[in-house]
């Protein structure tokens, strides 16, 4: 593998952002097409890598498309990129949603130059988190993401946007402050910043010098804030609700996945002992997140806030799947991250469309829209049903794997009971999703919505693409699970799975 595909994927959006910064802000078309090209090429390359990915069993745990150069000699830090079965689909997901985010933003006319520059920079930093194999690089990418988010929410957002953006920044920085301390301790105890090296052999040293549990928690807090795990979730409803549509898509679609990814990649893989010790506690927090998130969702009337709270509940499943610590449950958690990314991405895109075309975000004022905007109604319903886990959609495949895996997990005690409690969450989910769809689209049509525009060609395009992916993964989940398994199986083996 001579060509540095990953670097190209990683830096093309950033390069696009720099080019956009030099285009005159009056030339909106050029800005948007530049953004289009600089997100389309990474997507094509990521699809190519996904197809070229070695799926044979011997590739389990093997890092592919690796690039490694010495970066900062005094710190022994490397510019080290690579993907394994766990990160490959997430890189693909990021480029996919990054590309769609540009399309979704096509109607942004306020300060377009800065908007698209920040959006592209955001994509680079998220790809960087998933593709970095060096702790310093990982952390830098993790932190860079905050700056574009801050600007995107506070300039192009709505509602209490400034409050939400600074809240988001402070929560994230608070979490990463602990993470930085954790990374520094890890660096000191092992003398290495290389993620695979530490995972493969540094652990003995960690336990010798510093209690591994302490480092586990330092790292975990950073990821828990991002996931978000109850009780660190309160930034999420504000940020999601007030962010512009495309940013909500990125935020719910891939940004919060960084938390789950980090937990699997660093916490679980490097600290199997503490992970197992604290699994019960974390699973209980996951259950609270699932049920509490769903219960609060039931009471929302703002369409975006509703989807935001549902994310808390869905991320609870991810946490459950991760800390059930079984091969199947971990695979399910990984699949749920991907699936939630596209489903919630679609839901937010649809919500944005409703808000844009109908100019209200209050569910109580909507109703009977199925007549006036049939396409939106159908797609919204599909996304909703996928979100509640209807068979043949990706949501079903992912949640089924999580429940199956955690019910059968022998690593943690009492998993059967926990799983049964978690399943209650599905019922609540069905409740709020169906209520939301019914409230917005069904019932008697209202006259004031006559003449409301349905989705136009561009919007139909990205809607159908997302629906197609949801269905594809739902009907044939192996397209992803075959890849995820390669990354998960070495981790599951740590727990005898």
């Amino acid at each position: 593998m001579d060509y540095n595909y990953l670097s190209t994927i990683l830096f093309l959006p950033a390069a696009g952002a720099i080019i956009i910064a030099f285009i005159s802000s009056k030339n909106e078309k050029a800005i948007k097409w530049t953004a289009f090209i600089f997100t389309a090429i990474p997507l094509i390359l990521a699809i190519y890598l996904f197809c070229a990915f070695d799926r044979s069993l011997s590739a389990a745990g093997v890092i592919q498309f690796e690039e490694k150069y010495l970066w900062i000699a005094p710190l022994n830090a490397h510019y080290h990129l690579g993907v394994d079965g766990l990160s490959m689909p997430l890189v693909l997901l990021t480029t996919f949603l990054g590309f769609l985010a540009v399309l979704i933003s096509w109607k942004v006319h306020l300060r377009p130059r800065e908007y698209f520059a920040w959006l592209l920079l955001l994509e680079t930093s998220i790809i960087g988190v998933f593709a970095s194999l060096d702790l310093l690089l990982f952390f830098i990418m993790w932190e860079i993401e905050v700056i574009p988010m801050y600007f995107l929410i506070s300039i192009w957002g709505s509602g209490r946007k400034e409050y939400s953006s600074i809240k988001y920044v402070l929560y994230t920085l608070f979490g990463s402050a602990f993470m930085l301390a954790g990374i520094l301790s890890l660096y000191f105890t092992t003398g290495s910043l290389s993620i695979p090296d530490i995972a493969n052999g540094g652990l003995g040293m960690v336990q010798a010098i510093m209690p591994a549990g302490a480092i586990f928690w330092l790292l975990f807090i950073g990821f828990a804030v991002k996931l978000p795990m109850f009780p660190f979730h309160t930034w999420l409803p504000d940020a999601h609700t007030d962010a512009p549509t495309a940013v909500s898509v990125m935020l719910a679609g891939v940004l919060i996945k960084m938390g789950g990814y980090g937990m699997i990649r660093l916490c679980v893989t490097m600290f199997p002992g503490p992970a197992q010790d604290y699994a019960q506690l974390l699973i209980i927090l996951a259950l609270i997140g699932i049920l509490y998130g769903a219960a609060v969702t039931l009471m929302q009337t703002d369409i975006k806030r509703m989807i935001a709270y549902s994310s808390i509940s869905h991320m609870g499943y991810v946490l459950l799947g991760i800390f059930a610590l079984g091969q199947v449950s971990l695979t399910g958690a990984a699949l749920q991250m991907f699936s939630h990314g596209i489903i919630t991405g679609l839901l937010f895109a649809m919500a944005g469309l409703v808000i844009h075309n109908i100019e209200t975000r209050d569910l109580r004022q909507l109703g009977g829209l199925a007549r006036q905007v049939p396409t939106m109604a159908v797609v919204f319903s599909v996304a909703g049903l996928a979100s509640l886990g209807l068979p043949l959609t990706s949501g079903f495949a992912a949640e089924f794997l999580i429940f199956l895996g955690s019910f059968n997990s022998a690593v943690v005690n009492n998993m059967q009971i926990y799983t049964l409690i978690a399943v209650v969450g599905v019922v609540l989910t069905a409740g709020y999703i169906l209520w939301m769809i019914q409230q917005a689209f069904y019932g008697p049509p209202r006259d004031e919505f006559n003449g409301v525009k349905d989705a136009d060609g561009l919007e139909k395009f990205y809607m159908y693409v997302l629906v197609a992916v949801i269905m594809l993964v739902g009907v044939y989940p192996a397209v992803l699970t075959d890849v995820f398994k390669l990354g998960i199986s070495p981790i599951a083996r740590l727990f005898g799975g």
Binding site: L136, I144, S154, A177, A181, L184
Partner: protein
């Protein structure tokens, strides 16, 4: 005697005098700037050549062991000359505010830079003190240069408190001399080791002397509780001088502390761990007080003043690391040097923007920065970058500096201090980002552009490039800092 080892200092003094003389018959004051900058570039060039080992053996001592010429002092010569160049460039527009005494203004900057260079090189208590006074007295005058009420008040405050701090420092030095009978730093170390641990514990005079020296030096680096002069002086002084104070005075102060505490008080471990603990406690207070009091500030110069107190706190984490490291180990010195370099470019960058903007709008109120994102996007972008760097977020140099500094601290089991420091970085994000918010999201009543001339623009480009380069490829400077820090290794 090897006078050629003293060429950088001689150059500084000659250029300073030359500038004053030229001022008498040169109409075009830009010439003075040019001459000063050329002189400083010569200093940098010559120091770099000495670093590479050009016809001299390093480390060397000159003037009866009064001054050391080693990589450490050369590092600071280059850093301080660089600061002086940037400050002079940044003063280009501002200096036209003083119709008279422009020559003296540049000459005083050069002289105080010379004093600070000597501080970093001094290896004897006497030369340390003299160079400190040379630097301070020049600064007292510079602070008063605006001659309005605030500037005069600031200068008087700085003079009085500075004089007290110098007296405390001198008292400490006298006590140390009284106990050890030496003024030479290495001889003091020898004498302390000869006392043994028992003799040391039984000698309160020495310990009080050391504590008094910390107090006197704490003033120079603006550490809590010796920080009370900072906000007023920062607000009242001409803004380029505020910038100069905030970085150069701090750099020289830390050079001074590093040299004296490592050379003289580095052994035995009992002693170094005790002053390490003092610095750790001072660091905690400086960070918390600096950051928390910065939050309600409405004047950007005052805010940056409190922020510089907090930054001194982070730097003292490095000093604590040094104290806790076992004797002879290389820990912390190079990280402090790197942090200082990064802080220098970052803070100077921020101040250059403040100078440019306040020149136009005649105000230092943060609220008046509203709409700068539209009025002057490049300046606003530069200030945003510098503030992000001050928070310590990548890709700016501030992140690398903190990462490097804290990684050394973690190695000495100071993880509690690191956790406090990173939490403080989060607190600081709040007030730094407030400025960003005002600039980009605020609406301004007037829409006219902010003009800027070439000289400050060059300075700004240099600092912003520095912030980005040190953040993305810090390896080169880290190696230099390690070479400079090595003189303390053996």
């Amino acid at each position: 005697m090897n006078l050629h080892l003293f060429v950088p200092e001689i150059t500084m003094a000659v250029v300073a005098v030359l500038v004053i003389l030229l001022d008498l018959f040169v109409r075009q004051k830009a010439v003075l700037r040019g001459v000063s900058i050329i002189g400083l570039l010569v200093v940098i060039g010559y120091s770099l050549a000495m670093w590479k080992g050009m016809d001299c053996e390093l480390p060397a001592f000159i003037f009866n062991n009064m001054l050391a010429v080693d990589n450490f002092s050369l590092f600071f010569k280059i850093l301080l000359a660089g600061i002086a160049i940037l400050v002079i460039l940044a003063s280009a527009d501002y200096a036209s505010k003083f119709t008279r005494f422009q020559g003296e203004y540049y000459a005083l900057i050069l002289l105080s830079a010379l004093g600070m260079m000597l501080m970093a090189a001094a290896s004897d208590l006497i030369s340390l003190y003299i160079s400190l006074e040379l630097a301070s007295i020049s600064l007292y005058v510079l602070v008063s240069f605006l001659k309005d009420r605030k500037s005069t008040e600031a200068s008087l405050k700085y003079l009085l408190l500075g004089a007290i701090a110098s007296a405390v420092l001198l008292y400490g030095m006298a006590l140390v001399f009284g106990v050890t009978g030496q003024t030479q730093l290495s001889a003091i170390a020898g004498s302390i080791q000869a006392m043994g641990l028992g003799g040391l514990v039984d000698s309160p005079a020495l310990l009080i002397g050391i504590v008094l020296m910390i107090a006197g030096l704490g003033f120079k680096i603006a550490a809590v509780p010796f920080q009370m002069w900072v906000p007023d002086v920062y607000e009242g002084a001409p803004t380029p001088i505020t910038a100069y104070l905030s970085v150069a005075s701090k750099a020289a102060g830390f050079a001074f502390i590093l040299r004296i505490f490592y050379s003289s008080f580095g052994m035995p471990d009992w002693l170094s761990q005790n002053w390490g603990m003092i610095f750790a406690v001072l660091a905690v207070f400086s960070m918390f007080i600096g950051n928390i009091v910065a939050i309600p500030q409405t004047n950007i110069k005052r805010m940056l003043g409190y922020s510089s107190i907090a930054q001194a706190g982070y730097l003292m984490v490095g000093l604590a690391t040094l104290g806790f490291a076992s004797a002879g180990a290389i820990a912390g010195q190079s990280t402090i040097l790197f942090f200082l370099a990064s802080y220098t470019v970052t803070n100077l960058g921020a101040f250059i923007v403040v100078i440019a903007i306040s020149n136009k709008i005649n105000s230092d109120n943060i609220d008046d920065y509203a709409g700068m994102g539209k009025r002057t996007p490049l300046l606003a972008l530069a200030l945003t970058l510098c503030l992000i760097s001050l928070i310590g977020m990548p890709p700016a140099s501030g992140f690398m500096a903190k990462f490097y500094l804290f990684s050394a601290a973690v190695q000495q089991d100071l993880i509690w201090l690191v956790v406090i420091a990173v939490i403080n970085s989060v607190i600081s994000a709040y007030y730094y980002l407030r400025v960003v918010k005002v600039m980009w999201f605020g609406e301004s009543a007037v829409e006219d552009k902010i003009p800027s001339t070439a000289a400050p623009r060059i300075a700004l480009i240099l600092t912003c490039l520095g912030v980005l380069l040190l953040g993305i490829i810090p390896g080169l400077l880290m190696r230099l800092a390690e070479e400079a820090g090595k003189i303390f290794g053996g």
